[in-house]
């Protein structure tokens, strides 16, 4: 049996800043290979992990979880050992000053994002957020030594690894979307081959955080799935976040009701869960799910997609919070979908 917390921790420890997903290729392949028949890296940096049902000409279900995480890229090396940087994916500038990072150069080095001391701030300045190009990283190296280790274009990730909160909850960087990667892996590991109604293609895809130009699309073009389930995090309930676009943490996975996704497929998932005695939450994302589904649904001649989400708090910070029971609920749903023959028929 896979320990959910442990698996998420291992996945989070693999640095996968958007555009640098390849850095963890070996580590990831070693971690997930025992659960799949075949793992390969597709063009564009997406990892494809396949579990076959063992029957010829079986339908194909693509279960997509983006593997990349928000981070930064080195744009310059400055006197005194400071680095300037730009963002890879949508950074939350509200949390940047004094935060901690690793710079992935020829070796991994630690740095602190500088914050301005109060005496240099103009009145009211602490209410404003510095622009990214006004922030620097302090590495503690001399410029000359730093240049031997770091090059312009190197990736930068946040420092925080996974830590436990109360109960089933954990926090750390990269829960978006390693929590959903874990759900897909757990489903593949636990589903019995004899019961599978399809070949399962889990895509741990690249480059979602940067413009959704996902590596999922090019991988899908190759896989040609009959249907796809995209799994990604969604907002948890929080003061200032509307109920309709958020789900309650600890109360299971949620499905997205959207014009982008396939409603029949979505309803089938709701039915499968109810039939098995558990409930799915819903979010309404009318025009855009904010996930890979937006791009994936238009791939090739079109792929019917559904979106299954795990509620997450503090999205795009270095301490994203999730509840592992929600990850397990999502995994359970994926197993039902993979074993459901009717899901591949036009009429449900």
């Amino acid at each position: 049996m896979i320990n959910t917390k442990e698996l998420i921790g291992q996945l989070c420890n693999i640095m996968s800043v958007t555009g640098y997903e390849h850095r963890g290729a070996q580590e990831l392949t070693e971690l997930i290979s025992p659960y799949f028949d075949h793992v390969y890296e597709a063009v564009g940096g997406t990892y494809v992990a396949v579990k076959y049902c063992g029957r010829d000409a079986a339908p194909r279900l693509m279960l997509d979880a983006h593997f990349d995480e928000i981070g930064m890229i080195v744009t310059d090396i400055l006197p005194g050992g400071y680095l300037s940087f730009s963002h890879m994916g949508g950074l939350d500038r509200r949390i940047m000053p004094a935060s901690e990072v690793y710079i992935y150069g020829r070796e991994k080095i630690y740095g602190v994002i500088c914050s301005k001391p109060p005496h240099l701030q103009k009145p009211g300045e602490s209410k404003k957020l510095p622009a990214l190009d006004e922030m620097l990283i302090d590495t503690g190296y001399s410029e000359d030594e730093l240049r031997k280790i770091v090059s312009i274009g190197d990736g930068i990730g946040f420092y925080e690894s996974t830590a436990e909160l109360l109960g089933n909850r954990i926090c750390g960087r990269s829960m978006d979307n390693k929590a959903c990667c874990a759900a897909a892996i757990i489903a593949a590991a636990n589903v019995e081959r004899e019961k599978m109604a399809c070949d399962l293609y889990v895509t741990l895809s690249s480059r979602e955080e940067e413009s959704l130009a996902g590596g999922c699309v090019t991988a899908a073009y190759d896989i040609r799935p009959d249907i796809a389930i995209v799994t990604d995090v969604t907002f948890s309930r929080f003061p200032g976040v509307d109920d309709y676009e958020s789900a309650k943490m600890g109360e299971g996975a949620s499905v997205s009701l959207s014009a982008v996704t396939d409603r029949k497929l979505t309803n089938r998932l709701i039915y499968l869960a109810e039939n098995a005695g558990f409930k799915l939450q819903t979010t309404v994302d009318a025009e855009n799910t904010g996930t890979n589904a937006t791009a994936l649904t238009l791939c090739g001649d079109g792929i019917p997609c559904a979106v299954v989400s795990v509620p997450l708090s503090c999205m795009h910070t270095y301490n994203e919070i999730i509840d592992t029971s929600d990850v397990e609920a999502a995994a359970k749903l994926f197993m039902l979908a993979v074993c459901d023959e009717d899901i591949f028929r036009e009429e449900y």
Binding site: S99, E100, C114, S115, K127, G140, L166, F238, V241, H316
Partner: protein, 357 residues
């Protein structure tokens, strides 16, 4: 007997201790543990500080006070919400940019749980507001509880919080340290090491030396004020941490001090005009002994000296501050060599005062 920690390891254990202003018990206990057998007497402190006395040989009537504060910047829990989130008051100013997203420890001296300073997702912030810092009202501490009932098992209103932050040695040759509370556990560590050195020497100083580890400096409700009334010192040497602004791009004129260049000696700040004789004595001692030190170049901030110099019959004060990057955040950064320089300068200055007494 347990081996006493010193240097970086002593600093590590002190920084990791939970001790926001008003809840310094754990730090006080740790300090008492570390100064065992290195003083003649512990003087009771009604504010919760630790005051240790090393007696002189009786040839001088004067009393020297050394002072460092034990507390660190923190939070106080003010409400436990129905959904299990905690609302808090800041005891570290209102700059939310260095709070939002951080891990914290919440509780009291007996028990703490981990939390995260949570805020609504940036995606839900209106585009026009994306350049604004979160307000304190928008921040909550999330300990992972799903209801008020669950949260109340671990936290009560009035409990405290501090940053949770790893102690990291980094930079070229590991020359820098990042931790929470280096302001002013570094001062505490220097004083602990001074006590061990001074107490074990055969020859006593001419005057009594009081080592005061004080409370509530960060609130400005200074425990040092009461400690100095108790001690009534003639002279005081304060160990602090100061902002540096030595980062790239800051104009030379705005640089307060520079990490790696020794302790910063203040001529004046917003709380004190320091005693010129003591300042000169420190500078001369550093020069004579070839110990790195620098003059704090910006008139800003304040520390316990603000109270000590006015206490009782008045006290001649000087301060040696550790240059500390990103001070009052979870990521205080100091240079290891400054720790050594400050210790050496303080010891040399105390010896010098002994010779001059």
């Amino acid at each position: 007997m347990k081996k006493m920690l010193s240097g970086t390891e002593l600093l590590r254990s002190l920084c990791m201790a939970f001790g926001p202003s008003g809840c310094e018990e754990n730090v006080a206990l740790m300090i008492k543990e570390n100064i065992k057998g290195c003083y003649d007497e512990l003087v009771p402190d009604r504010m919760g500080g630790v005051i240790a006395l090393i007696r002189g040989n009786g040839s001088s009537e004067e009393r020297l006070m050394l002072s460092a504060h034990m507390d660190e910047v923190g939070f106080m829990i003010r409400e436990i919400c129905e959904d299990g989130l905690l609302r808090f008051s800041s005891m570290m100013g209102s700059d939310t940019r260095i709070m939002a997203g951080r891990r914290v420890s919440v509780g009291n001296a007996d028990m703490q749980v981990r939390g995260v300073i949570a805020l609504k997702p940036v995606h839900t912030v209106e585009r026009a507001d994306r350049g604004k810092a979160a307000t304190l009202d928008e921040l909550y501490i999330d300990i992972g509880a799903s209801s008020r009932e669950e949260a109340e098992k671990y936290v009560k209103i009035g409990d405290y919080g501090t940053f949770e932050s790893d102690f990291v040695e980094f930079g070229e040759g590991g020359k820098l340290i990042k931790a929470k509370a280096l302001d002013d556990r570094l001062g505490c560590a220097v004083m602990i090491e001074l006590m061990r050195e001074i107490y074990t020497r055969e020859e006593r100083l001419p005057f009594d030396v009081y080592f005061a580890f004080t409370c509530r400096e960060e609130l400005g409700v200074s425990g040092a004020r009461c400690a100095s009334h108790k001690i009534r010192p003639h002279k005081a040497l304060i160990f602090e941490a100061t902002a540096v602004a030595d980062i790239h791009g800051v104009p030379e004129v705005s640089k307060v001090a520079e990490r790696g260049c020794g302790g910063a000696i203040s001529i004046m700040d917003r709380s004190t005009i320091y005693d010129r004789d003591m300042v000169d004595m420190l500078l001369e001692t550093a020069k004579a002994k070839n110990i790195p030190c620098q003059i704090k170049k910006y008139v800003s901030g304040g520390n316990d000296a603000g109270h000590i110099h006015k206490a009782a019959h008045g006290t001649k004060c000087a301060v040696i501050s550790a240059p500390c990057g990103y001070i009052h955040t979870a990521s205080d950064v100091i240079a290891k060599e400054d720790y050594n320089s400050i210790y050496s300068l303080a010891l040399a200055a105390i010896e010098r005062m002994g010779e001059d007494a």
